[in-house]
């Protein structure tokens, strides 16, 4: 690798505008990056660096391409995330356009009793505030961490219909969205309800494979609409403050 990212710069114009992931080697596989305004699942089991990959995409997008982004955390606290990414060489200081919104704190403050009927529609509320936020401050990229935490706040009567509606509302915002999804251990599906994979426009799957000497991390692009890409799983390494996929 030569470390030069110039061939992976975003294509700004036309209908094929893309948001680069700035993961070395991945953007060339994705024909320049993730198509703009797509909803992409970043999924995998626990410990596969899903959140870090998501953060790294918007961190580099903000730093290198000036993309205004939100990292919406519903699980981990803001401080915990910032400490973690800073250790990995992604300090948030000076990045005025990358906002980490700590909804985990709000969740804690507002205990949700799922046995009782709820007047609160979190999904609608998040979409509504996102819409106003975008209009006021501008926003090109969003990472929502995680889908499972969002589901924990909501009682779905008809998951298929309600999730379809939620994905459509997100898509209408015109914000490239990365949804962090922890895969259930008992089933090979990309989301809890098993419908997230076809509701989304792309799926980046992260997995750990045990070897005799330890465990290796792999990344595979399972789905990316409007893109000719390989489906092979490639080793994902993190070195010198950046991710890189290695094609064998």
């Amino acid at each position: 690798m030569n470390g030069d990212e110039s061939p992976e710069q975003p294509q700004e114009t036309g209908t094929d505008a893309r948001i680069p992931t700035h993961i070395m080697g991945l953007d060339s596989i994705l024909e320049g990056g993730v198509p703009k305004d797509y909803i992409v699942l970043i999924c995998g089991h626990a410990g596969t660096m899903k959140s870090t990959v998501g953060y790294s995409i918007i961190y580099n997008g903000c730093k290198k391409d000036g993309l205004r982004s939100i990292y919406l955390t519903l699980e981990q606290s803001k401080q915990s995330i910032l400490d973690h990414v800073e250790k990995l060489g992604m300090p948030s200081q000076g990045l005025d356009d990358l906002v980490v919104v700590d909804l985990a704190r709000v969740r804690k403050d507002i205990t949700v009793d799922k046995t009782k009927p709820q007047n609160v529609d979190w999904l609608k509320s998040i979409v509504g505030v996102l819409k106003n936020y975008k209009e006021k401050f501008g926003c090109e990229c969003l990472v929502m961490d995680s889908l499972a935490a969002l589901y924990a706040l909501t009682t779905f009567k008809n998951p298929r219909g309600e999730l379809f509606h939620f994905f459509e509302q997100i898509r209408d915002l015109g914000v490239t969205t990365f949804l962090i999804s922890e895969m259930p251990t008992d089933r090979e599906v990309y989301g809890l309800y098993g419908i997230e994979d076809f509701l989304s426009d792309g799926i980046i799957h992260l997995k750990v494979e045990q070897t005799s000497g330890g465990a290796n991390l792999y990344l595979g692009v399972v789905k990316m609409r409007k893109t000719h890409h390989t489906r092979e799983f490639m080793p994902l390494i993190y070195e010198n403050g950046r991710f890189e996929v290695v094609r064998q």
């Binding site: 005025d96 906002v99 919104v101 979190w122």
Partner: protein, 412 residues
């Protein structure tokens, strides 16, 4: 016409007057010194022969340019200057004016610069002083032009007086030093105003104390850079708070959501108890919150005025809150009245109304705003704060007031 020096009889022994400035350019330092010596002897001028080559060359060229053949002295070379200063009929002996000076004076006058001092200096005929003054003036003009260029894109909103003073000062490049200092001050004032505007926008309760603290630091113009950094940091926090508070206001259980200890009778408001919507006042604002106009159909007492402006402040703050939905009717309940906020593409209407909000209001406001903005679109796109440029606003706001009054008479 003055003859070109290089066109003289070349058979004669070469003297300084036989050479033109082009051939002088090719000389070495030694040749130039020799040439200067000859020139001194022949023309009776004084040249600093120890000066650097460039300065020596410039001095020689000046003497070559200025000197005119005795028979040509009858010809008034200074006509160009006379034209500029309008003293053609001057009876005093004419001073010789090199073409380059007259051309410069003409150019500078055409650019709107005051050249009186230079013209006066030309009258003295002191070559050295004139040359120095022209060089200094030219340098000052260049610097002044740089400031003027920057002023073309300078946002003078809120600083009109200072801006105009500076523009006046720039008509004389001699004022460059003062103008430059004033421009630096103006830039700082612009920055302070921008920072104040940024702070004014942060109206969330969680930000209030810090905003007040930062505002107190605005007076110190020397520490604006430091303050700017702190405000940038606060902006990031503001964005986060905007999001969080928006969610909290939606999802936080209200007293209504909490289970009641015992069943309460269902609260129903009897129809017609509150009464139809009566719009008392309409405020028209620009989208960034700048005030345009106030419209009412009643006399307003001083007591009411204070209340009215408190309502305006509530409406204005609501505009910047996460709860505000653009282009839709936002109604805030306050005592017995409603503060209604609705925006168009460039403007915002804040209405203070009593009674129930009529469901037709949103449609009427949308229509009025659309028509008004269409008529004044050119001025509204980049509105400079000049209310008089928005010619249609008064007419449409009166129409809105009238429409709301008519609406009050209709049954909901």
């Amino acid at each position: 016409m003055a003859k070109k020096k290089g066109t003289r009889d070349r058979k004669k022994k070469k003297t300084p007057r036989d050479l033109d400035s082009v051939s002088v350019d090719d000389m070495t330092v030694r040749e130039l010194k020799e040439f200067a010596k000859n020139l001194e002897a022949e023309e009776g001028v004084s040249i600093d022969k120890n000066a650097k080559k460039a300065d020596l060359l410039a001095e020689i060229k000046t003497h070559l340019d200025v000197e005119v053949e005795p028979e040509e002295k009858k010809f008034e070379v200074s006509d160009a200057v006379s034209e500029v200063i309008g003293k053609k009929e001057e009876t005093a002996p004419k001073k010789k004016m090199p073409k380059k000076y007259s051309k410069l004076l003409l150019n500078w006058t055409a650019d709107g610069y005051s050249v009186d001092r230079l013209e006066e200096l030309l009258e003295t005929g002191d070559e050295k002083k004139i040359r120095t003054a022209f060089n200094e003036f030219e340098d000052a003009v260049k610097k002044t032009e740089e400031i003027k260029k920057q002023l073309e894109t300078f946002n003078s909103n809120g600083l009109r007086q200072e801006f105009d003073e500076l523009t006046d000062l720039l008509t004389d490049p001699g004022n460059y030093a003062e103008a430059n200092a004033q421009f630096e001050l103006l830039k700082k004032k612009r920055k302070r105003l921008d920072l104040k505007i940024a702070l004014d926008k942060m109206v969330l309760p969680a930000m209030k104390d810090r905003v007040v603290q930062l505002k107190a630091r605005l007076d110190n113009l020397e520490e604006l850079n430091l303050l700017e950094r702190d405000i940038e940091q606060l902006k990031v926090e503001y964005k986060e708070s905007y999001f969080v508070e928006g969610i909290v206001s939606d999802v936080k259980p209200t007293k209504k959501d909490e289970p009641a200890p015992k069943a309460e009778p269902k609260k129903t408001v009897p129809k017609g108890k509150v009464g139809p919507m009566m719009v008392k006042d309409i405020f028209l604002l620009y989208k960034d919150g700048r005030f345009i106009s106030h419209h009412t159909s009643r006399p307003v007492s001083k007591e009411e005025q204070a209340k009215l402006f408190a309502d305006l402040k509530v409406g204005r703050n609501y505009l910047r809150s996460p709860k505000y939905v653009p282009h839709k009717l936002n109604a805030i309940k306050a005592d017995k009245r409603h503060i209604i906020v609705q925006s168009g593409n460039f403007t915002v209407v804040i209405m203070i109304a009593e009674g129930d909000v009529n469901p037709w209001t949103e449609r009427i406001v949308t229509k009025v705003l659309t028509l008004m903005e269409k008529e004044d679109v050119a001025n509204l796109r980049n509105w400079d704060g000049d209310v008089s440029s928005l010619k249609s606003s008064g007419k449409y706001m009166q129409a809105l007031l009238f429409a709301c009054m008519k609406l009050a008479k209709k049954k909901v």
